[in-house]
């Protein structure tokens, strides 16, 4: 295995946030990184925030048919084999765990959890869901788990929501620590914040496609992370790049062939070739923007079709990351 310093650095953390605009393939990239890490012998969990746990379905096409919601316990940690686990973070569940952990008296925790008044208050307090969510992610990354019966993980990969919200999520502990000033929540939130801004403990990976809005978002993310949390992007992965088939001089020849008198089938094939080439050129221009806008050269991943996904295909994509350099 060729040493790959960019990738090593990315995975040499306890917590890795994967963020980017909606639709760029964050979940797929989180799964690929999870497989790479697990393949290196790290006990790894991919934690979905703000959505369902899609990993079982991504890894095994037979584990869930399209359109069906995930089954099993949504808040539970699922063993996907070979050292890879997955979970969907549920703020409600996280709150119950947190209350049990903090209050130590089960009856008191239950009283709060089941109180409607408390439920409304918790739901209406701005930022509480975010704090509980990031708190649960932090708990997963602890060398000694606080959740009953939990085994420690070497790496927690967070399939984080779209960028703006991901940063709000990461900033929630600091805000609460400052607001609370003293008391258990303040101390706890401050501890979580220290972990999040410690580059030895936490990293952030940006995922984008080579499309303008997604690239804008990822370029802005770097600046916002710096301004709001004093940390940087550890790497950018440009996903779903189309194959580049035609050289510049090919275009004139394709056009000339089109200007002849091709059969309808040939004509369509030529038009499609020129259109595909247009798209590749747009993508290359966006890829250049990413490369110029970030410190480290971005990773490039090819477009893979959904029906080709599965554990083997994703491991194959992981190899591309390992070999990049």
């Amino acid at each position: 295995m060729a040493p790959n310093r960019r990738l090593d650095r990315m995975l040499d953390r306890r917590l890795l946030f994967v963020t980017g605009k909606g639709g760029v393939g964050r979940t797929t990239v989180a799964a690929v990184l999870g497989l790479v890490a697990a393949g290196r012998g790290l006990r790894t969990i991919v934690a979905a925030v703000g959505g369902r746990d899609e990993l079982p379905r991504l890894l095994g096409p037979d584990e869930g048919r399209p359109g069906r919601t995930g089954d099993g316990d949504p808040a539970g940690e699922r063993d996907l084999g070979s050292g890879l686990f997955s979970i969907a973070i549920d703020p409600q569940q996280a709150m119950e765990e947190y209350l049990r952990d903090q209050l130590r008296v089960g009856a008191l925790a239950d009283m709060l959890s089941s109180s409607r008044t408390f439920g409304y208050l918790a739901a209406a307090t701005p930022g509480l869901r975010e704090l509980l969510t990031v708190g649960k992610v932090w708990e997963l990354a602890q060398p000694e788990r606080r959740a009953a019966g939990g085994d420690p993980y070497d790496l927690v990969i967070v399939d984080a929501p779209a960028t703006g919200y991901a940063i709000s999520l990461m900033a929630a502990p600091r805000t609460f620590a400052a607001l609370a000033r003293r008391g258990p929540i303040s101390r706890h939130a401050a501890t979580i914040h220290e972990t999040l801004v410690d580059p030895r403990m936490t990293g952030v990976v940006g995922v984008t496609t080579a499309a303008e809005p997604a690239v804008n978002e990822i370029l802005e993310t770097g600046g916002r992370l710096e301004r709001e949390l004093g940390i940087g992007l550890d790497g950018v992965i440009v996903n779903a790049l189309r194959p580049s088939r035609f050289a510049r001089r090919d275009r004139a020849r394709l056009r000339a062939a089109l200007a002849g008198d091709p059969t309808p089938a040939v004509r369509q094939a030529l038009i499609l070739a020129l259109a595909a080439d247009d798209e590749v050129r747009v993508e290359r221009a966006q890829l250049r923007r990413v490369t110029e806008g970030v410190t480290d050269r971005p990773f490039e991943l090819p477009l893979i079709r959904a029906e080709e996904l599965g554990r083997e295909a994703l491991i194959g994509v992981g190899k591309l990351l390992e070999e990049a350099e």
Binding site: K21, G22, G23, G50, G51, P66, G67, L99, Q102, L103, M111, L112, S115, T117, F118, Y120, L121, A123, A124, T125, P126, G127, R129, E130, P161, Y165, S168, A172, T175, F176, L179, A180, R181, R182, G183, P184, I185, S186, A211, E212, P213, A214, R245, F246, D250, R253, L254, G260, P262, P264, A265, V266, Q268, A269, L270, L272, A273, A276, R305, A306
Partner: protein
């Protein structure tokens, strides 16, 4: 399914069109194209977008976040000699400013307004939390509908994996304001337990132990500062809920033709259904439409080999194979969507090369959406 009129018939007589769907499926483009078409049809239209691509925003003359729609220069809209008879207004929503503005409207006086705006919980967290974009988008929609004097408003909602985030945003607030928690927080502590019962008093005791006095005080202060606005919030939330179910409100679900977005669209449609909202229609963007499904890449390759050489002819054929695979996949996904959703009409927009970043390409999208150009079919 999609008749020759496309969305035209579906949107007839509607005052509001809400575009919902996951991120990255072309929702903003769809909303802008719908707005353009309605404006060209002679209406005064406002398009409220959340996070448009730069060049699309630029094409509409939007250069900054704002909390009021601006008139799009009519000269930008006259594409290909087509005269735009109505007015297109557009805005990029600034959630923070919209939230502040809403507080300003609901506060009984200047002091109450200042108290909320300077509260630390409000300042630090109100615009950062999940649901705040949804909430402000909906609040803006309500306000524009009541006071903007528009014939039609098209709302591009924030990307979300969960349809309910968006529909429930107003309901969450109402629930809270109707709940006992607020009364308990607002009442003096000694009184609280008598007013709301012992259980709640005990609950606050435990809560205080957990949060520390400062945080609970801050939270209390936040809700206290909002207390003069409860009625206004409640009324507004009720008004919004009504607006969402108004027969003049259309809900258009937007998706692309790939597997995951289609999965999400199906889940979205079910959630809307459970919440008692009817989908007016579905738009599936970026369909790869194979006009000649029988064309054989091998034959194309040999037909071109003489003129282009084997290497280039082979690549043209490979590209055709990829495209046919994509088109086949999109057809299957479209069929699956039709099977799963049943009723709502589906309008297909073909994959267009390059970004949709100018008014001309928006016009092309509108052509497909409204059936002026024969739509793609699954």
């Amino acid at each position: 399914m999609s008749g020759p009129e496309g969305l035209g018939k579906l949107l007839e007589g509607r005052r509001i069109c809400i575009c919902v769907g996951a991120g990255g499926v072309g929702k903003t483009t769809t909303a802008a194209a719908i707005g353009l078409e309605l404006a060209c049809g002679g209406q005064k239209v406002a398009v409220v977008t959340i996070d448009p691509a730069r060049r699309l925003a630029g094409a509409l003359g939007l250069d900054q976040l704002d909390n009021e729609p601006r008139l799009v220069d009519p000269d930008r809209l006259g594409v290909g000699g087509v005269e735009c008879r109505g007015e297109l207004w557009a805005m990029m929503l600034d959630p923070k400013r919209t939230f502040d503005e809403l507080i300003g409207r609901l506060a009984p006086d200047e002091r109450a307004r200042e108290e909320v705006l300077s509260n630390r919980i409000y300042r630090e967290l109100s615009s950062a939390v999940a649901g705040s974009q949804e909430f402000t988008a909906i609040a803006k929609l309500y306000e524009l509908d009541r006071e903007g004097g528009y014939d039609a408003i098209v709302l591009d909602t924030p990307p979300s994996r969960n349809a309910l985030d968006f529909i429930q945003a107003p309901a969450h607030l109402t629930q809270f304001f109707e709940g006992r928690a607020l009364r308990a927080l607002l009442a003096p502590t000694s009184l609280a337990s008598r007013v709301v019962g012992r259980g709640t008093g005990l609950m606050f005791g435990v809560l205080r132990r957990l949060t520390g006095v400062d945080l609970l005080g801050e939270i209390g202060g936040f809700f206290q500062s909002l207390s003069g606005m409860l009625e206004g919030f409640g009324e507004r939330a009720a008004g919004v809920a009504e607006l969402l179910r108004d027969p003049a409100t259309a809900v258009v679900l937007v998706s692309s033709a790939e597997r995951q977005p289609i999965d999400e669209a199906i889940a979205f449609a079910r959630e809307l259904d459970r919440a008692g909202m009817r989908l007016t229609g579905v738009v599936v963007n970026r369909m790869h439409v194979d006009l000649d499904q029988r064309s054989d890449p091998d034959e194309v390759e040999s037909a071109l080999a003489g003129e282009l050489g084997e290497r280039l002819a082979g690549r043209v054929a490979d590209n055709l194979r990829d495209f046919q695979a994509l088109a086949g996949r999109d057809r299957l996904e479209a069929q699956r969507l039709e099977r799963e959703l049943g009723d709502p009409p589906i309008v297909y927009v073909p994959h267009l090369a390059g970004d949709v970043h100018d008014v001309a390409s928006l016009g092309r999208v509108a052509g497909y959406l409204f059936g002026a150009v024969p739509g793609a079919r699954g």
